[in-house]
Amino acid sequence: EAGVTQFPSHSVIEKGQTVTLRCDPISGHDNLYWYRRVMGKEIKFLLHFVKESKQDESGMPNNRFLAERTGGTYSTLKVQPAELEDSGVYFCASSQGVHYGYTFGSGTRLTVV
């Protein structure tokens, strides 16, 4: 079974630019989550999709972040415009349901300079 795939694995952009992160979940997993870890802090929740619908986006830091999951398959997370404090590792995870552990991707390390 293929795991959760994220790309790019690394991205370095300048402040004010736009970056789009992509996540391909495990096939058949309706639940898709975005998390991020900023330097020195714990992993924090951003949002949760069930199929193509946003179930919970309470963790999104501000309106510079936009997540989509068209067709209920892969998801994208766009940051526009990027700020220095957006630097960190962005993880995507998918799950069959609440009683199953999440399968995480390897993350995208975003550096805003």
Partner: protein, 110 residues
């Protein structure tokens, strides 16, 4: 506010030296407590889910236990390949997300 605290922050063991990692939590209603292992440059890897006080789960050299206030991850006779960061996370009622602790970085020396 829901909180998850892991201790110690870092732990260095000799191969074969058993120990325990702690995860204490203060949440409004626990739906489940998760343990993950994370290697450098990788995402967290699921280990266990615990749902109720008194529950225990085992996998190879690892055993996770749960009380009403904390969880322990016991490592018996660890090997160098057990070196990783171990993360604890809680899922609370009426919430779909997990709240993570900061992790314990375990190093096992041969």
């Amino acid at each position: 506010e829901d909180q998850v605290t892991q201790s110690p922050e870092a732990l260095r063991l000799q191969e074969g030296e058993s120990s325990s990692l702690n995860c204490s939590y203060t949440v409004s209603g626990l739906r489940g407590l998760f343990w993950y292992r994370q290697d450098p440059g990788k995402g967290p890897e699921f280990l266990f889910t615990l749902y109720s006080a008194g529950e225990e789960k085992e996998k190879e050299r690892l055993k996770a236990t749960l009380t009403k206030k904390e969880s322990f991850l016991h490592i018996t006779a660890p090997k160098p390949e057990d070196s990783a960061t171990y993360l604890c996370a809680v899922q609370v009622n009426n919430n779909n997300d997990m709240r993570f602790g900061a992790g314990t970085r375990l190093t096992v020396k041969p």
